[in-house]
């Protein structure tokens, strides 16, 4: 164990004295920004797509939208996140001439990617809500959209909260691929400390611990949210 203590000291030296913690801070910030924004925009995109997919299809516009949504979901579920990042950063954005930072690209790709997955969760969630809820909304004269937003989607979100939590956890961990486009996340920060100190064992263990702590905190947050949403189930 003497060996480990030595390595620990070396890590602390590089972490604190040589300013490694600043990179870790930066990395943690980017990781959270990408995962949280990815989740929020993903829920937004996913909900819109899911609503399009459950729309009545006897008019032309819903059919066209539905076709577009199938293509979108197919692409983002059919390719790895790394490939999507590379395609956006090195191919798509240069072609259309948009210059944005690698963190911004990551937020964009994470949103689009999680949107595709969340749309399928949300569709299952919407379909798990009793059709009578939609009928009752329509029967008092609310439109499809109004009933969806006020009645069906809130209940659908409640039903899919556990899976949504899963998606968030997956997103947090998947941020470790953003270094492919040069964004500095947790992995980049600890890798930097490792390569400077020529000692990788401790940095990687600490990195793993930080991921675990984040996931535990998220799990608790999900539990609390579930509890909050369950208020309409409770009997007084």
């Amino acid at each position: 164990m003497g060996d480990f203590a030595q390595k620990w000291d070396r890590f602390l030296k590089y972490f604190i004295e040589y300013g490694g913690y600043k990179r870790v801070q930066e990395g943690l910030k980017n990781t959270l920004i990408i995962a949280v924004l990815g989740l929020l925009f993903g829920i937004l995109i996913g909900t819109l797509i899911a609503a399009v997919r459950v729309m009545p299809k006897y008019k032309r516009l819903p059919r066209i939208l539905n076709g577009f949504c199938s293509f979108y979901v197919g692409f983002f579920r059919g390719t790895p996140m790394v490939v999507q990042l590379l395609l956006f950063y090195y191919v798509l954005l240069p072609i259309i001439g948009v210059k944005i930072s690698s963190v911004q690209v990551s937020v964009l790709v994470f949103s689009l990617n999680s949107g595709a997955y969340i749309s399928e969760m949300m569709r299952a969630g919407i379909q798990s809500v009793d059709p009578g809820q939609m009928e009752a909304g329509r029967a008092v004269g609310l439109s499809f959209g109004a009933t969806m937003t006020m009645i069906v989607i809130p209940q659908a979100i409640k039903n899919i909260l556990p899976t949504l939590g899963n998606e968030f956890i997956a997103l947090i961990k998947e941020t470790s691929v953003v270094s492919f486009v040069g964004a500095s996340d947790l992995y980049v920060a600890f890798n930097y400390i490792g390569s400077n100190s020529y000692e990788f064992m401790v940095p990687y263990i600490v990195m793993a611990m930080i991921y675990i702590v984040m996931v535990v905190i998220i799990t608790i947050l999900i539990k609390l949210t579930e509890h909050y949403f369950a208020k309409s189930d409770r009997r007084k």
Partner: protein, 270 residues
């Protein structure tokens, strides 16, 4: 089948006129041409064996199911025409469901206020002061006040802020009925309102419906409660295989049925 008192009816009294209504589900013909004239204040009970199309008929009236053919004249427009803005007409045509369908994510009072507030806001955004409201807050206040009055009427004002999951079946259905009343509709459609209730709760729901009927509300009720139909309705229809086979005033309808299938049906249920 034409209206029994059609001779005395003026045009203004007619609130709903159904002509040649047909509904197919794929190649299954559920409704095979239904004609019906409903006047203001009519209480029409629809009875028939299960699978006869009586619920489908009711659901076609407010286009919960789109009719395959025929006309539904309401407020001077044909609801069977797909280009009509059905949402506007549904505000004038309430519906009460077998399974109550209260909004699970809203409290009891929110359930009642939701549609009035939403339509009020919509009118306010469009017309501003001309809508008769000064602000969105005023719309909410008014809707809340009316909702509380309705709850008081059914003796559930202390349940205003609980969620529907805490109510009994009878309470849920009574809330569902006042939710429909909150929109001040011209007609209310009832789709087997007591069929999902425990027997001891049927009475309270029928009492409320009786009460609503006395106020002159026009009601079309699909039901299995023959006693209620005989007592409250001014016309009873018997539907089987997607057609109205007999229609008449309750005394004549139940006392002296002519159609063989109706006789058979009544002998089983009475």
């Amino acid at each position: 089948m034409s209206d029994t008192k059609a001779v005395n009816t003026t045009e203004e009294d007619i609130i709903l006129k159904v002509e040649g209504l047909k509904k197919d589900f794929d190649d299954k013909h559920v409704l095979n041409g239904i004609d019906l004239t409903v006047k203001r204040g009519d209480i029409i009970c629809v009875i028939g064996p299960s699978g006869s199309g009586k619920s489908t008929f009711l659901r076609c009236l407010n286009c919960m199911e789109d009719p395959t053919a025929g006309h539904i004249m309401f407020d001077g427009e044909d609801l069977a025409d797909m280009s009509v803005d059905i949402n506007v007409h549904r505000q004038n045509m309430g519906m009460v469901f077998q399974h109550f369908n209260l909004f699970n994510n809203k409290t009891v009072v929110q359930n009642i206020m939701l549609a009035p507030v939403h339509t009020g806001k919509k009118a306010f955004r469009k017309l501003k002061e001309k809508s008769g409201y000064k602000s969105v807050a005023e719309i909410k206040e008014k809707a809340q006040k009316e909702a509380m009055e309705l709850l008081k009427r059914i003796g559930l004002e202390e349940k205003a802020d609980v969620y529907p999951s805490t109510l009994s079946g009878g309470q849920k259905q009574r809330v569902a009925i006042v939710r429909a009343l909150a929109m001040k509709p011209k007609v209310i459609l009832f789709d087997e309102p007591t069929s999902a209730l425990d027997p001891e709760m049927v009475g309270e729901v029928l009492d409320l419906m009786r009460d609503v009927a006395k106020e002159g509300m026009t009601m079309i009720i699909v039901t299995h409660e023959m006693g209620f139909a005989r007592e409250v309705a001014n016309r009873v229809l018997f539907i089987d295989e997607g057609k109205i086979l007999e229609s008449g005033e309750p005394a004549e309808f139940f006392g002296n049925p002519r159609n063989a299938r109706l006789k058979d049906f009544l002998s089983k249920v009475l």
